[in-house]
Amino acid sequence: MAKTLATLPPAQLAPLADAYHAAMAVKRRWTVGGLVLLVVLTLLSAWAGQVDLVKFWAGLPRFASYFHDIVPRLRFETFAADMAEWFWNFDGWLALLWDTLLVAYVGTLAGAMAGFVLCFLASANLTKSTPIRFIARRSLEFCRTFPEIVFALMFVYAFGFGPMPGVLAIAIHTAGALGKQFSEVVENVDMHPIEGLTASGANYVESIRFGVVPQVLSNFVSYSLLRFEINVRGATVLGFVGAGGIGKELISSIRQFYYADVSAILVIIIGTVFLIDWLTEMLRHRLLGIVGDTR
């Protein structure tokens, strides 16, 4: 019975096998070419980036010992006192962290509002005018190209030290990032409700309010919550350039080698980020669930 599985006659098999080998050879050439390019780029970058493996190897124990140094000594018998010493400035740090969270919150809110307005102008299905769309898209692109800290640097110069420049910087970056995501959502909406509204005499704003917004709102909120998560992380470092929040404390304790403070602040930041991630994820699932029910 095994004979029934016999292969094709050689005359038919040979061209097929040749084609297979040719196809594999092409694929292999692509792979090898890609790898060579990768290696060349890596070497070039290593040269431009002053990669020094000797220094790295020599410094590596310092990386481990750094983490060893920043972890405070906690003894079992005096655990409470050690903890109290480690988090000696807990209230002060919490207040700064609260600032950081508020910077992220107001920045996200303001950015989401700006993005909300601009996204309709940047969507090809709602805005037929090419110049308006072009301007809206380019300005969103400009807003999101620079990390918020670049804006923060300039705003600190204009508005002075404090959390306000941080809020504005985050708002601008968020407007750019969310505006793009929003407009992608808007471009995928079902156009039938809008046609219906337009046919019954609705103007541009009304057709967006009753035709588009109900379709996209849950996605918008979900994206905004995700962006809030990102902004909380971003806001922790805005203090590096004097734009408010916990970052100022962190950079000064790292620079001045207050080891225990560094770890205490990092623990607080990581804990908060976990908490925020968890909360927003729950909210997002809840929200998508609710919308799914009412639809």
Partner: protein
């Protein structure tokens, strides 16, 4: 119609109250924040005024005598982004296999590797840069290591999710033909996830080009150092020139990488079909 079926038009009371509460609470929190941060319209307008002056002073963008310093710093920035992304991806591949439920079915290992990755991602790239500066000193190498570390966290998560989403059937096929554990990964899972991983790596390269422009602010190499310095010295024409350089570079990188991504996915899909 509205009179005949009022219940259809009225949203449930609870839902209405909830959305009202969210709006009121959100606005109250925003107002509280503005109050706490000492926001005042006059100060805001003053700031805008100053910002306007800055924008006027930026014209025309001019590098002064620094052009070549800027160009080499920008090359450094690209090198940081490239090596950081590559290193992060290479390091993340092994741990993402550990963190994927369908490959390594060990709950403790799975949980531990996930939390480890979360912790790394909870720390911003700039903070990693500060820590690495303590190890290898100031300069771009610290920046590479910082981007590598934070990408390691992100890639570990993304890769393991891609592996978990892969189809089980090719693995079963390789197994039933007598393949080992390693074979089933190499021939069952890797061909499925490779295009996804590649496109994620390219996407992160784009995003890291942006991050690498600022990593110099803390002294970890690249154009950021010049940007921060020129802003501090109020050399606005130079600042404008650097910003333009970054804009052009980032859009070139975006363009190249999106072309590459399309080509790669297309080719792989074609080869698979």
């Amino acid at each position: 119609m509205r009179r005949r079926h009022p219940e259809v038009f009225r949203a449930p009371v609870v839902e209405r109250c909830l959305s009202l509460a969210i709006v009121v609470g959100g606005t109250a929190l925003a107002i509280y924040t503005l109050w706490r941060f000492g926001f005042s319209p006059t100060k805001f307008i003053d700031g805008l005024d100053k910002l306007g002056i800055v924008v006027v002073l930026m014209m025309p963008p001019d590098p002064g005598s620094q052009l070549w310093h800027y160009v080499s710093a920008l090359a450094e920035t690209l090198a940081i982004a490239f090596l950081g992304t590559l290193g992060g991806a290479l390091l993340a591949l092994p741990i993402s296999i550990l963190a994927a439920k369908n490959v390594v079915a060990n709950r403790i290992l799975h949980f531990a590797s996930r939390r480890f990755l979360d912790t790394i991602r909870g720390v911003d790239t700039l903070i990693w840069a500060l820590i690495w500066i303590n190890v290898v000193g100031l300069g771009p190498f610290a920046g590479i290591l910082a981007i590598m570390t934070s990408d390691f966290g992100s890639f570990g998560k993304l890769f393991s999710e891609a592996i978990e989403a892969s189809d089980r059937k090719p693995v079963d096929g390789v197994r039933s033909a007598g393949g080992s554990e390693l074979h089933s990964f190499r021939f069952g899972i890797l061909p499925q996830v490779m295009p996804v991983l590649m496109s994620q790596v390219l996407y992160y390269f784009e995003s890291n080009t942006r991050s690498a422009t600022i990593i110099g602010i803390v002294g970890a190499g690249g154009i950021g150092l010049y940007l921060a310095n020129e802003i501090a010295q109020a050399e606005w024409q130079r600042v404008a020139f650097i910003i333009l350089m970054i804009l052009v570079t980032v859009s070139v990188i975006d363009w190249v990488s999106s072309r590459l991504r399309l080509a790669m996915i297309g080719r792989r899909a074609g080869a698979g079909a």
